[in-house]
Point group: D2
Chain length 366, copies 4
Amino acid sequence: MAGNSIGQLFKVSTFGESHGIALGGVVDGCPPGLEICEADLQIDLDRRKPGQSRYTTQRREEDAVKILSGIFEGRTTGTSIGLLIENGDQRSKDYSKIADVYRPGHGDYTYWHKYGIRDYRGGGRSSARETAIRVAAGAIAKKYLKQFHGVEINACLSQLGPIKAEQFDWSEVEENPFFFPDSTKLDALDEYMRALKKEGDSIGAKVTVVAKNVPVGLGEPVFDRLDAEIAHSLMSINAVKGVEIGDGFEVIEQKGSEHRDTITPEGFTSNHAGGVLAGISTGQDIVASIALKPTSSITVPGKSINTQNEAVEMITKGRHDPCVGIRAIPIAEAMLAITLMDHLLRHQGQNKHVNVQPGPIPGQAE
Amino acid sequence: MAGNSIGQLFKVSTFGESHGIALGGVVDGCPPGLEICEADLQIDLDRRKPGQSRYTTQRREEDAVKILSGIFEGRTTGTSIGLLIENGDQRSKDYSKIADVYRPGHGDYTYWHKYGIRDYRGGGRSSARETAIRVAAGAIAKKYLKQFHGVEINACLSQLGPIKAEQFDWSEVEENPFFFPDSTKLDALDEYMRALKKEGDSIGAKVTVVAKNVPVGLGEPVFDRLDAEIAHSLMSINAVKGVEIGDGFEVIEQKGSEHRDTITPEGFTSNHAGGVLAGISTGQDIVASIALKPTSSITVPGKSINTQNEAVEMITKGRHDPCVGIRAIPIAEAMLAITLMDHLLRHQGQNKHVNVQPGPIPGQAE
Amino acid sequence: MAGNSIGQLFKVSTFGESHGIALGGVVDGCPPGLEICEADLQIDLDRRKPGQSRYTTQRREEDAVKILSGIFEGRTTGTSIGLLIENGDQRSKDYSKIADVYRPGHGDYTYWHKYGIRDYRGGGRSSARETAIRVAAGAIAKKYLKQFHGVEINACLSQLGPIKAEQFDWSEVEENPFFFPDSTKLDALDEYMRALKKEGDSIGAKVTVVAKNVPVGLGEPVFDRLDAEIAHSLMSINAVKGVEIGDGFEVIEQKGSEHRDTITPEGFTSNHAGGVLAGISTGQDIVASIALKPTSSITVPGKSINTQNEAVEMITKGRHDPCVGIRAIPIAEAMLAITLMDHLLRHQGQNKHVNVQPGPIPGQAE
Amino acid sequence: MAGNSIGQLFKVSTFGESHGIALGGVVDGCPPGLEICEADLQIDLDRRKPGQSRYTTQRREEDAVKILSGIFEGRTTGTSIGLLIENGDQRSKDYSKIADVYRPGHGDYTYWHKYGIRDYRGGGRSSARETAIRVAAGAIAKKYLKQFHGVEINACLSQLGPIKAEQFDWSEVEENPFFFPDSTKLDALDEYMRALKKEGDSIGAKVTVVAKNVPVGLGEPVFDRLDAEIAHSLMSINAVKGVEIGDGFEVIEQKGSEHRDTITPEGFTSNHAGGVLAGISTGQDIVASIALKPTSSITVPGKSINTQNEAVEMITKGRHDPCVGIRAIPIAEAMLAITLMDHLLRHQGQNKHVNVQPGPIPGQAE
């Protein structure tokens, strides 16, 4: 299928360029009867919105989402939901300077070679601006999962450059502009970001996303394993270069006796697996982490070429995030929600009559 | 779609359990005119085959693949290719002991809760045995990519437990039973594996897979980015818990000025991106790494429960690999090949008439 | 996949209810470089627009389409195209009377039982109003097919109730409000429709759609045959109850010696097959016909029940087409265009390097 | 997706050529717990088998199907089911005569132009022989639908050339070699077929397929309507040139007051719609008819060309059915079953929690 859709039974299709008229999309397959309104979607859009703090870009994006269909008297009807976010901030900035230059680390070079034409204004379709619609669509999935299955999905910034979270206190995450779970590191983060801004440089980050109360049984063998589709979903976020489930790359140095999670009549006693065994959810927390590269839009000069294959020097001016990981928090939550939602519908489609009794009590051991 | 298929234009669908009658599959969408025969597929199957060295399981699997359709007078016809591998080694071993026990770290628990029924013999569908068909299908993709586009795909074991490859000499990889690119570490590996065997334990591993001469332009915005689909593809391999593209998790501590790859009239001067920018191939080497967990089939006793929710102690006897990463080499190559092949066809479907001129010379800077 | 999308490489996803805020959709996979603007789409939307003649509903729909993305400097960029048609005519009519009644012949009963909730205003998602977006999307496909491959797609009304076209003069079709190819029948049609209006009844129709200059080779064995996907595409239009390719149901009484189309060095001498052999286009005209049922929105009283399972009598008031076949002309063209476009991209994806020489001259024998 | 698969949640992928080693396929997404064995599949394969009567080809095909996976202790496990039918009758007949000739009315011409290579032996992939696997896969769907939902699917030959069934007595269908529901026409059929054989010609046919006890609510708006997907499914059968739902092409001359089915508190009083309203099943019988063209494999000489574009005269010798409609009975049932099965799973995936109360009693009025 063409690339701007994700999901099978719960499917999200999107459109929109950074400096076009609007972003939008179609959310297809949402079950009927879910109470939802624009304000429900706006909460996450506002968490993603730039200009929220001095650590993110000061570009003003209104990001006011409109629901155009699929809702009747406040509830979903089971038909496709149209979403629209008008681009308020389409200022007629002069982009002609970068029109025939490939900014290093961006999609300019690849889009040009793929298509032979390129909307160079602000990155066009390759801009992270498209993730606004993902967040809106994900908010629908999150609300459904919460209301009908008690699933809760939360992400946080677990590392920014050299600064790692050493304590995980989820109640801290929404209390600071970094979405950081370790309040003892907030001063260090503040200091680090100030220095970075002075340099005109950017930094990578790690985001961890967790889903609680996921039903056991989600995921399909063998190619559509839940972890494989989560990897797809999270890696599709701009700037992501790595995805881990559970212990991730730490398993390389683990022994089998250490890694395998013991099952007791009271449930699992550990969660090295990250909530997925053989591609199917165990009922424990789904835990995934992603690595986000430092944005290439920096004021440190860089070398590149233009479409005539001539060497040029580049400085990216404008309003950019020094760490795109911060704003990726609601995006990671949205993508995990979309994938879980799709698998939930697929699972109950095939296995509606399955009724396993008796069984252990899944759940994260604390 | 149901979970046993991968790909859109080049699509692989598989079936088969560890101890069933046969494994098989359908490879759909292979372009016509490719010279291919069973021996071409057998090469990679033999590289994956157990019992190849004392470091892998001694279970004998013949893994002789038959091509049942789609080939005429030695060449593909464009129609679907049927593949079959009969399970020669279906010994009537007594599996009744594990019939109602969930082996920790395996799919027993999740399959049971998903389906309410489970082929417990050797893991059934969740056994890594199914990857034999992936390897056969991947060999078709590899041959096509090589012959029509000069693409070469190779994987190696880049780390086993604490032992990392520090030199990457690809010519070494096929010369040792570990597929290890650093011959100075072979003694250490040998020693480590002997000790492990004595303990009855297993160990994790890292596998790195590289595709050379990939055309620029493969990958679709925004959800079907090439890296997202590679992540999907590689994470769908049994035991994989993490996927990286290019610098992967190292980007967390990189600055933008350091990460972005400079483009010169002669090509890129580095490849931190791993050959993908904004989800589209740059023409540089595609570089991906995966983390494989230690197998849970070990003789170290473990705790678990049975389907009646009673505590039990488990020892997995039988012939098992102490490091599944070793045999994953051809599987990783196969999955990368399948994904690249699919994207190649999708790209030329949409962009057949694109002809970008002039342009820089893509390629990996050495 | 969820049901509001069609196509694989050229994919159209839509949303919108009859009396909602707007209709819209995403057209994904259009090749880059096609010159297109809103006016190109508006031509077909205006042909579909109600209130065009006294034979169609007088409801005023502006149907002004906006292109929200995917176009840069007048040309497609290869990224997804967002489409929007605002519902201008959302008058606050009182629909409460039909809120809990199932109008016979409509989707009221089935939507209610499927979803347990229903946007009853004007039929909601099941209204033919959604076809406006199909027409807009189809116009993009039509323009591409015409410009890059010379394909021309035209439909006409070949029968209305008992009145059949006996002459096929395509130049007449756009000259009369019935899109009828036989000008000798125009008076009869006019008379028939007047009488029907007086009765308050409606009538069925047959629409024939033809694509000229279709490349040979489109269509995939065995399930995605071109004719199978055309049947899908055309049967998905509201009110369609039958689809024929070529001679269609006449083949039942044909003999093999009569049906098979002779091939000569100059081309085919007949086209009973309708341009498709074994599911693949022959290069001859693709000819398809559809049967459209009479609309159930009539003023003749009918019997039905309400959601409390009580008997009720229904009269559908309001502005309705006595023959929905008339306005189906551009819809049939659009759906055929979408399907051909998708298959063109799929074909050239898999078979880019195929170059058959020498060969006969395909084409419709006159 | 590539063309050799059908369905989303219940997906069938097939391979195999007329004169290849074997036919086979993968049935993915069958719910777990269904009791099924090879004998269940063989029943329908035997109904399709040639050589059953003097009215069908005398070619002997064993068509013994093997189930290779997905079943454990007699029940489906929810994993993919591998099917295999070895081609017993691969006699080394000399096909070189037709190797470079395009038989009129066959896929020779189109396959050659699509792929540039062609397995000419017996039609290769375009032979109706591939439908054997559809029948096997359909038998699984039929058994599931019957057992878990009481759905019964039956087809019959409703017309052969000029001879129409005027009485529909389903109990007659399996009692005569024509699968004809009107026993008063059996002599006429016998006489007609004898004359046809003497001429060396073939004849078209109409097949009607009916599903009883279909749950209300199957089908997705707007492109994946149940009738649209049934049209796809049935039109994908070899030789089919037309598909009707309910009254089909008769609706052209029907008035709205006549066509719409009245709903009463006791159910529908007629079924002009054929069990589908607005693309969703009503709970009434699903009724579909197809037109099958006369086979082009006849001994009446025909004109054609070869791959060098030279005129040739053709006579198709060998064992061929004079009316392919007869053997299409189980194929039509299989395809309808596959489509209903897929939609059942999709419906309960999205709408698991829907519980509409109270409601009318759907069902076919007699």
